[in-house]
C-alpha cells in the first residue's frame, strides 16, 4: 500500500517536472526570422492587412516597443516590437457570452518580434490552438491559429514594406472606428 501511494506521488512529481520543463515550448512558439526586427514586424503587419485576412475581420491594433520604456529609465534591452492585431469576427463571439468574456484578457492577439544575443531576429507567438483546447474555445482559436500561420508566411520576392506605427488602441479594418478590438 505504501509503495502504491509513494509511486502515485512520484508519478505526480514526474508529471509536474515534465510539464514545467515543456511549458514554455507548449504555450509559445519561437521561430527565427531571416529579416531584421523592424522588417519582420512590418512583413507581419503587411500579411495581417492582406485582403483574405481582412475578410476574416483582422485589423492592426497597435505596435508597441517595450524597450523604449526601459531606455527612458536609463537602461538598454535588445529591440522588441509587439505587433498587435485583432479580428472582430473571432473576438465578437467570445465577447458576447458571459462565460467566455474572460478571454478578452488575450486580446488583442500579440506577436512579438525580438532580437537575441546571437544577433538574430526571432518571432514569438502564443499557441492559440492549445489555449483554445485548454479553455473550451477550441473552434475559434483553431481559426486564429490558422490565420497566425499566414501572418508569418513571408514572401522574399516582395520588397520590405514600411512599418505601420499604429498607436495601441488604434486600428484599421472593421474595428477602426472603435479603436480596434
Amino acid at each position: 500500500m505504501i509503495k502504491a501511494i509513494a509511486g502515485f506521488f512520484v508519478g505526480i512529481a514526474l508529471v509536474a517536472v515534465v510539464a514545467l520543463t515543456s511549458m514554455q515550448s507548449l504555450m509559445f512558439n519561437i521561430t527565427p526570422s531571416p529579416y531584421g526586427v523592424e522588417e519582420t514586424a512590418a512583413r507581419i503587419q503587411a500579411n495581417i492587412m492582406k485582403p483574405e485576412m481582412k475578410a476574416n475581420g483582422w485589423s492592426l491594433s497597435g505596435l508597441r516597443d517595450p524597450s523604449k520604456a526601459v531606455a527612458a529609465d536609463g537602461g538598454n534591452v535588445l529591440p522588441v516590437l509587439l505587433v498587435e492585431a485583432c479580428s472582430t469576427k473571432y473576438s465578437g463571439p467570445l465577447l458576447k457570452e458571459d462565460t467566455s468574456r474572460i478571454f478578452s484578457i488575450l486580446m488583442p492577439c500579440t506577436i512579438t518580434v525580438f532580437k537575441k544575443d546571437d544577433g538574430k531576429t526571432y518571432i514569438g507567438t502564443m499557441n492559440a490552438g492549445l489555449m483554445g483546447k485548454l479553455f473550451g474555445v477550441g473552434e475559434i482559436m483553431d481559426k486564429v491559429a490558422a490565420d497566425q500561420k499566414v501572418f508569418l508566411n513571408f514572401d522574399p520576392s516582395e520588397p520590405a514594406p514600411p512599418l505601420v506605427r499604429v498607436q495601441p488602441g488604434g486600428g484599421g479594418g472593421g474595428g477602426k472606428a472603435a479603436g480596434g478590438c
Partner: protein, 554 residues
Amino acid sequence: MNKLITQLGGTFSLLACLLFSANVTATVDAAPSSGAAATAAAPGEADTAKPKTGSTADHSKFEELDKDFATGPEVTEACLECHTEAAKQVQKTKHWTWEFLNPVTKQKLGKKNLVNNFCTSVRSNESFCNACHVGYGWEDDSFDFTSEVNVDCLVCHDTTGSYKKLPGLAGHPNYETMEWPPKSGKFREATDLKKIAQNVGKTSRDTCGACHFYGGGGDAVKHGDLDSSLAEPGRYLDVHMDADGLNFTCGTCHLSSSHEVSGSRYAPTAADDQGALIRGKNNDRNPTTCVACHGNAPHPGTSVSTAKLNAHTDKVACQTCHIPEFARGEIATKMTWDWSTAGKLDEQGKRIKIEGSEGRDSYDSNKGNFTYERFVIPEYVWFNGDIKYTLFGEKIAEDKVQINEFLGSADDPDSRIWPVKVFRGKQPYDIGNETLAVFHTAGNDDSAFWKNYDWDKALKTGMKTQGLEYSGQMKFVETEMSWPITHMVAPKDDALECAQCHKENGRLQAISGVYMPGRDNTPVIDRLGFTLALFALLGVILHGAVRWFMSKRS
C-alpha cells in the same frame, strides 16, 4: 556579478565627474580682449538675455563682427583680426589637410586619399563631399590650402545651430535663399553670417556632429556609434554624454591643443596601460582613451571577481564589454550598400526611392540598395592600433576586398579584443587596371553618375582625377570595411556579462589564439575531471552502502 558591476560603474562615474569637473582644456579659447570691443556689462549686472557659456568674451560686442558679411571668408578675415594664429593652427590639422601619414605602415591616408565602400571617394566629387571640409571653396585641385581666409571658423564654433554647409557648394553655406533639398519645394533662407559670427562659442555635440554624425552621406550611415541621437542623448545611450547627467561634449574627451583635436581613426590607441592622465601634463599620450580617465585598474575593489575583471584589461578593450551593442539610439545604422543595383529608373525615366521598414531608403536610383539595423551586436577582432588600408591603384585579384584590415593577434602585447562595425558593400572595380575604381558621382556635368546613370562616363572621369586611364571594363566586387566602436558607452548595468562571451557560440566565438573557459575545452582534461567526479560519486555510494550494511548487522 551585476551587483559588482553596478558598484564599479558607480565609482567610475564619480571618478569621471571629479576628473572632468576640473574643467580640462577647452576646445576653443576665449577671444583676447580687444580695444575695439564695446563696454562690458557692469559688475553684478547679469545679462539674462543669453545663456551662460563660460566664455569671458561676448562676441556680439565686437565691432569687427558688427558687419553684414557677404561670404564665409569675410567672417574668417574678421576672426583673424583677434585670433591671429588660429588659421595657421587649423591648417596643420587633419581637419584641413584631409591627409594623414601613418607612421607605422607608411601609408598615406586621410579622406583625400582613401577609398571606402560608402560614397567610395572624395576625388572628382569635391564640391559635394567637401561640405564637411573645414574650409571654403575646395572644389578641385586648384584649391589654395595656404589661404588663411579659406579656413571656416563657423562650422566648429557656431552656437546658433543655423550654420549649414550644403553639399554642392564646395564648403560654403548658402549665401542666398535656395531650394533645399533640390526639387523638394522647400527653401532655405540665406545664412545670417552676422548673427552666427556674433554668437560663436565652444564646440558642441551639434557642431562636431554636423559632420561626424552624418559621415557617409547621411545620419548614422558610416560609424554606427555616432549619429544624431547623440546630440541630446539619454543615459541609456551614452553614460558620459547623457544630457541630463555628465553631459560630456565631444571635446571633453577629444581634448584639443592649437586646434589639433586628439583621437584618430587612422591610428587609434588600441591598448593604453599608462594609467590615468594628469590633465595638462605635457606628453604625447592620447587623452581620449578610457584608461586616460579610469586608470589601469578600472574596476575598483579588492574582491576576487574585481581582480578578475581588471585582469581582463590586458586582453580585452573596455569598449568590448561596455558597448554591448551600437546604434542603440532611435536611428538604425546602415550595414550594407550595394552599388551594383544603382541606376534603375521608373517607367517615366525618373529616379526611384523606396522606403524600407526602418523608415529609411532601402533603394535609391542614385546609390543602389541598402540595409539598416538598430542595436547591432558588434563583430570582434584582435587590434593593436595599426590598420592597413587598400588604396587606390593597388592591384587586387580577389573578388572580395578588405578595404581595411585591423592588425593584431593574441600574441601581441599591444593587442586587445575590440568591437567593430563591419560595413559590407559592392562597388565598382576596374577589370583592366585590376583596382578598385573611382567614379564621379555628384555634379551638374554630363559625366556625373547622379546626372546620367552612365557608369562608363562616371568611371572615366573619376579614374582620370586619380591619374589612371579607365580600362573600359568594370564589374562589381564585394568589399568590407571595419570601423572601431568606441562611443555609445552603456550604463554599467548593461555591460556584457561573463556568460555572454564565456560560452559556446558566444560573443567572442570568432576570436582565436586565446583559451576561453566556457567556450573552449580540452577533451583529455574534461575526461579526467568527469572520471574523478565519477569515482567520487562511486566512493560516496560505496561508503554509504558499507555504513548501511554494517548498521544492519549490528
